[in-house]
Symmetry: C2
Subunit: 284 residues, 2 copies
Amino acid sequence: MKVGIIGLGLIGGSMAIDLKRKGFADEVLGVEAEPVNAAAAGKIGLVDRVVSLEECLEESDVVVLAVPVGTAVRLLPQVLDTFAKSGAADKVVMDVCSTKEHLARSVKYHPQRRQYVASHPMAGTEYSGPWAAMPGLFDGHACIICDSEESSPKAVRAVEKLYETLNMRTIYMNSSNHDVHTAYVSHISHVTSFALALTVLDKEKDEKHIFDLASGGFSSTVRLAKSSPDMWTPILSQNRDNVLHVMDTYIEKMQAFRQAIADGDEDGVRSLIEEANKIRRIIR
Amino acid sequence: MKVGIIGLGLIGGSMAIDLKRKGFADEVLGVEAEPVNAAAAGKIGLVDRVVSLEECLEESDVVVLAVPVGTAVRLLPQVLDTFAKSGAADKVVMDVCSTKEHLARSVKYHPQRRQYVASHPMAGTEYSGPWAAMPGLFDGHACIICDSEESSPKAVRAVEKLYETLNMRTIYMNSSNHDVHTAYVSHISHVTSFALALTVLDKEKDEKHIFDLASGGFSSTVRLAKSSPDMWTPILSQNRDNVLHVMDTYIEKMQAFRQAIADGDEDGVRSLIEEANKIRRIIR
């Protein structure tokens, strides 16, 4: 089996490493539009060959779109068009993007829709680019497959096998629900982390103090603020309504906290903290 | 040297372990008001003996106040009174609290003020109680000593040696600056984490979804929301003005983010993320 990965960043690069290492792919082809990243991916040896988009689509059995979601929305119909033109009815294309509804809409009525499987492996780090790729990134995490009834069973099975190889737990949901739930659980925590970094950089002009005083707690809370604008700008844009909705709730909670502190209402502050502590039951 | 630790939670318990293990203390005495915690500390063997407050003050050369800051404000003058009454001019008392100005004020004019050293080891986890105590908790972290000119050089030297034993880097600052900087760098990240937990628990009623979809990023951002209300209620209360000030800035940053997303202003969102990314330069 030949796997073609378009986008050799953190996700695409890490997949390339493990799909080859674990024998899912006999050969991994890579496409990378950014020349510096393409050169780095070649040098690191993330893939067997760095090729053009055309070569990748022609040679690969499974094509993985591992590009920011704005680019994926543009590329996905192109890939299916190419499959149609070349009569490649057995090829499969999958994406790994963090928002799903726009992507789903972009090919909903495409005659080759059934060759596409929408998926989202819930794994990553705050780093990006081919340098950030690592073995084992996906190990033990959850992966969401969306709208699987709109893909051919054979295509879904191929993608399931790919994720089994990466040792991921697969969950099924439609793309609209996916976007609601990831806004609640994933996207908001990036926004709060960006806002925290902006606040600390604004208030604490003395960087030495930030460095000296940052304990493990602060570092872990602000970690996601290092995340790539290329990835996160389109996510926040494409999942706009869900993200705004959860941000409004978040700002309300902050205001409630602020009010209790301002009022010197220690019982109120304590209740809010005790309520927040319930997350202990869910997150280890 | 005998060290007496009042409060056998995460911080007090972890100090007890390392001060004994590394030979700073020949004997560690512990005081714990909460019967369940006292029994646990005894069972785990955190200290050589669990004793009464009176015994602890009588026998110990160095007394560590490792209780929530509200309790410390009450206890510290008592401890200095006891030193005065018993003519124990060589004994030292130190605290390890996260806010410093109220504490400093509580003994500013106490005749035994010079036997007290104000300090704040910047280390911890989101867990609390004697069960959370661990060796090496302080290793490599920063420790702040406040208002050292108000303590006797001998008392400061004893506390410095204690922190050297724990392998901490010592920083000096007055208590008012301490409270400003920790609000910016430490307290705000607890508040944002509490608010994040409240938001997710409010929006995502299906706990299974939180569990399934929580990636490493969400877990690290929400980690501090597990922190103890006994510790954090008095911190937020005693550092009220600084915390409110930094919360206001934080809410402004969130509003700016919200506005850019609502306006579909991708350039604006990208600029905010790029600005937030500057934290990379400071935090590893």
